[in-house]
Symmetry: C2
């Protein structure tokens, strides 16, 4: 009698794309043009350390200072971002019902969104180039079932003077 090859327990599964994140950063939107004041406040109040800052190159004539697209601060080794609300971010913030967006940096934004959507999140718009959001580069977002907005972006490029975590 021929012996059958024993079946291993592990069933063949359709592998979902590997999604990994290199950073998680809450982004706090502040009514423009107060983001600079907010950065100063967080430094004074919580001894936050400024890691980097990107400014909006398109300055309106009546603005004394360019708007802050994203300033990265650190407290206790953890990063958060402060940004002036601009047209897009105002929409984004309204869609989340609050002023905070959670940024997740990943090399594979489409796979990250697909995984989140398959878990119950709702995709918001298309993945697009978006200057200054999180680390800049390509950005996509989802709203989770609890009303929070999660923004996926390509990893932040290290600026001169960046502090390693």
């Amino acid at each position: 009698m021929a012996s059958e090859t024993p079946q291993n327990g592990a069933a063949s599964e359709t592998a979902s794309p590997v999604v990994s994140f290199v950073a998680f950063k809450p982004q706090l939107f502040v009514e423009a043009p107060k983001a600079n004041d907010a950065v100063v406040f967080y430094k004074n109040a919580f001894a936050a350390e400024e890691v980097s800052r990107s400014l909006n190159a398109k300055r309106k004539a009546d603005q004394e200072l360019p708007l802050v697209l994203s300033a990265e601060l650190k407290i206790a080794g953890a990063s958060f971002l402060v940004a002036d609300t601009v047209d897009d971010s105002a929409k984004l913030v309204k869609s989340g019902g609050n002023g905070v967006v959670f940024c997740l940096e990943s090399e594979n934004i489409e796979a990250a969104i697909a995984k989140a959507v398959s878990a119950g999140a709702v995709a918001e718009g298309e993945v697009a180039e978006c200057e200054g959001a999180c680390g800049g580069g390509r950005v996509g977002k989802v709203t989770d079932p609890y009303g929070y907005v999660w923004q996926f972006c390509t990893p932040a490029k290290k600026a001169v003077g960046d502090v390693e975590a």
Copy 2:
């Protein structure tokens, strides 16, 4: 002629109390009793890792499961907390205008609050024992000039199975 003792440049300053933070964690409030669902979602959607969880011991008769006081999750080495809204947190969330509170862990809560207030924040209530908020223990909070709520608490006690950052 007697030589005068040279004056050092450093003027005598009134030293402000040293405030340092050991952790920064956004806390996401979720309409009770959905925090457990939210934790499952964040695991499925973002491969978040659960570090610890504290439950409300006071379970109401009509509740099948105790409410989540605070579940700590990690993505990309960064921690965030998920909690069911309860009476106190609902007030706290309303006062901040959104569902997110930023927790800062410090051994010296009073000094941290004093420093934040001197920088322009508004203290909210008194420092009090507060089970489950952030790491538990003593808790105080302030609202910053931009509407965000910052909660100071004594450092989280490491639970069995905690993963070091």
